[in-house]
Symmetry: C2
Subunit: 517 residues, 2 copies
């Protein structure tokens, strides 16, 4: 039995030897109950890893001593036990990766936002490469390197291979053995899943969250992985969760454009989501992504909304409506792409960057995608590679701004009357996005807060002028001091307006500072 | 036993004599099973109507012979039976009231719209007078007359009396008897509920749907009707449904601004809504209206969303997002008011009319309210009376336009890419709202439809220019014939642009006509 060094928020693996004849992977071969001295307990599914090798993996959420015990119908896997000590989380190897998995699983924070298990806020500025794991090296690594260089911190990719337009490379390695009856989910290709493990770990080491798209709406019979029964889907889901759940950087998404699978009733997705919530003891984020019909993100199993709707990000005042509806974090995971293809993929870089800032100023998050036709005839969102667009660097800059916030996230201040002009946390920090064609000056005004957050005459503020395209942050020379506070608005009449670089794409970050008086 | 003439879609009442000592109204005194010769059956709750008088009411949905039989724990009310013949619905007395209750209960039609049981579309353009039934005559009748004159066809009002700002008249007649322990829902004031019956019937006779606000978030202990227990609420709900359910013009709304009742968990509202759905054999529309927290309108008991959010109606592209979220009709029941009071009640008439057209062009519906301070120090939305604003006549005009549509309702044509520019039904009829400051001309362009609704070169259209403020409809002299149909758009290059009254608030209604060729 392996006894490696264990660390908080890192996968720790226990290996057992199973019976002579392998247990089919559509059965859970064994479970292990892990118990910390504090009493915290987690039940984890074991999985088959080839030949007689069976594993169970945990990312210990707490430092200290953990004991474990297995149970199984197979005598060889039943009743094993042991203990290990989890050392505190290791600091990130490089300060460059603030989103190191050492901070733990990302979860919902402050209702509409995200934070790692250790409390560090996570501000998703992600990308999309559906068919990433199905490419050959060195393309896969180049993809990661390019995302990482741009400063993007989440990647949406599919486990099953994509079929359809712009798919120019068909993989040889598939997730299951094939029989005359089709795919045998009872016999996963261990080589396939080991590669997946290692790619997810690689993303984590680069500070990138792995947003795993579990089922495949683009297969349409090409590979036949869309034709699994609901029981087969469930077996695959258990196997996937058992293998990947201990990687702290995993997010789950049941499907991209789920409603392209028109033969599946919504209830099937709900059952899959509820199963996922039940079996994932690490409690990763869970969602599902739509084509034209929105999923009911009010379902309890859903932790955040993952919405396709570019239109909602074209103007302020739209995406914020989703917040009130779902009362969960809103991630606009497909808002059209920077590129030169069809209507969904021919945004200019300034347009896409503008959509990100609009989304941000709506209290929501967005994902990037690039759709210039590549040398192979494919697209970056399909196969990855080096990013060519002008938006990624600007999105990295946006992420820096978000990582610099001193508040959990940006929320509308005047929620019903004007949710889109000013976001932040009242009397603490505010963001105002003035759009792609800023005026020459901006007169200081803030909406009034509520209860303990009400502005007072004398409150003083620093104003930072963020040029979202040229990637500069300039602090306005004046300090802005409130001279008049009305029922709904507050003014600094003694200050001249803030001078702006007219015509540029400008956001303002306004932070309260100690008053001089 | 009464045997009056019965008509389809009209309340028909059966009276029984109960025991010497009255059955408390927090018990259902008896039920009656009504069966039509077709096999269609409805189970209706009986109710106490004072002394030894017990009633059950049905609005027969089908013409022909109905039989009925009662069941009760009380021997006096058990085992009665009879039969009656329902004559076909009587035509409306006046052609003026196209929404006569003779068309039957209004239900959801074509997913996002409404129609009466007989298929006649219903286009809600409603008003709000919370405390209407609690005023004295002649104010109540004046309210109805003024709404009816303006052409408004729905009225939102509360059963329980309103307390709070602008309430200047406290009612003497309350819904229940009072004991030392508070309100006794077991002893309803029959006089109160008979008046309610008669007011609902009066609305129906004027072609106005009665949107009944069942519980009261504005009481705050003033009357104490907010302090009923959940069991008392349920008893009242059963009584109300038994009394009013046979009036075809009833809509149910559990509460206005439900989330003002901060001591009630959401689950309590859900249980009330589910009970309502279960006991209302007439299956009226059901919703609930929010303050700052949206209800989950995806709940099954909810038939349509009744949303307060004025901001969503300020610009195109917002309210339509709710359609995708809830996949039910969206009624914006509170979008700020025409008046001269606070921030929520000082819209100009052109602003309010603009919001209605924006809502319409978003595939949704809205409700009117007026908040000029009245002579008594109250507001029209509180006490009613004669409407003073300039918007009601324009809303009556909007309703005429909607009633003239040849399609079930207005739906976005290019749903994801541009849901707000053009609504209607592809290749049949379209509405385009150009806003309050129309350009001097409009170049004919339509978005392409899908599947069987795809536009073809040669398709011909009539264009009507609707001046939404001046209330005129002018047909453009030309017929517009498509000369080019692209993947997403269609053009009539041989036509000159449509000349418009520049600067006015203009909508275009575009209807396909038989092609000349």
């Amino acid at each position: 039995m392996a006894q490696r060094e264990a660390h908080v928020h890192e996968p720790y693996e226990i290996e057992l030897t199973g019976p002579q004849s392998p247990i089919r992977a559509d059965q859970v071969p064994f479970q292990a109950e892990f118990t910390h001295t504090s009493g915290r307990a987690m039940t984890l599914l074991g999985f088959w890893d080839g030949e007689r090798r069976y594993l169970v993996r945990i990312a210990p959420p707490l430092a200290g001593t953990w004991t474990w015990r297995t149970s199984s119908d197979a005598a060889e896997l039943d009743g094993h036990s042991g203990e290990f000590t989890a050392e505190p989380a290791e600091p990130a190897e490089s300060a460059e990766f603030t989103d190191s998995p050492a901070h733990g699983v990302v979860r919902v924070n402050a209702r509409f936002h995200f934070a790692h298990e250790d409390g560090t806020p996570f501000r998703p500025v992600g990308a999309t490469v559906y068919n990433w794991i199905h490419q050959d090296e060195p393309l896969r690594t180049q993809t990661m390197a390019s995302l990482s260089e741009a400063g993007l911190n989440k990647l949406r990719f599919m486990v099953f291979p994509q079929a359809g337009g712009y798919v120019e490379h068909f993989p040889e390695l598939m997730p299951f053995e094939r029989t005359d009856d089709g795919w045998d989910v009872g016999r996963p290709k261990v080589e396939f899943f080991r590669r997946l493990d290692s790619l997810v770990a690689d993303l984590g080491n680069r500070g990138i969250e792995a947003d795993v798209l579990i089922f495949d709406a683009y297969d349409r019979g090409v590979f036949g992985l869309n034709e699994l029964t609901e029981e087969q889907d469930a077996a695959y889901l258990r196997y996937l969760v058992a293998r990947l759940g201990a990687y702290p950087n995993v997010w789950w998404s049941l499907c991209n454009e789920f409603d392209q699978m028109t033969d599946r009733p919504t209830e099937r997705w709900t059952r899959a989501g509820e199963l996922l919530a039940k079996i994932d003891a690490h409690d990763h984020l869970r969602s599902i992504h739509n084509w034209v019909e929105l999923y009911d993100y009010n379902q309890r199993w859903v932790t955040h909304a993952s919405i396709q709707n570019g239109y909602a990000t074209e103007a302020l005042g739209r995406a914020s409506l989703y917040r009130d509806v779902y009362r969960k974090p809103i991630v606009l995971d497909e808002i059209k792409y920077e590129g030169d293809t069809e209507r969904w993929g021919r945004l200019s870089a300034p347009e896409l960057v503008d959509r990100f800032w609009i989304t941000t100023a709506s209290g929501c998050y967005a994902s990037h995608g690039e759709s210039f036709v590549t040398e192979s005839g494919s697209l970056h969102i399909v196969e990855g590679g080096r990013l060519r667009g002008e938006s990624p660097a600007r999105l990295g800059f946006l992420r820096q701004v978000l990582d610099g916030l001193q508040i959990p996230g940006l929320d509308p201040i005047d929620k019903w009357d004007d949710p889109a002009s000013v976001v932040g946390k009242a009397r603490e920090q505010y963001l105002i996005y003035l759009g792609r064609d800023a005026p020459a000056e901006w007169t200081f005004r803030l909406p009034q807060g509520h209860d303990g957050d009400r502005l007072k005459v004398g409150d003083a503020f620093e104003v930072q002028i963020i040029d979202t395209w040229n990637m500069t942050i300039t602090t306005a020379p004046d300090e802005y001091v409130l001279t008049e506070v009305q029922r709904n608005d507050a003014y600094a009449h003694n200050n001249a307006p803030v001078a702006l670089p007219e015509g540029e794409a400008i956001a303002l970050l306004i932070t309260r500072v100690p008053s001089a008086s």
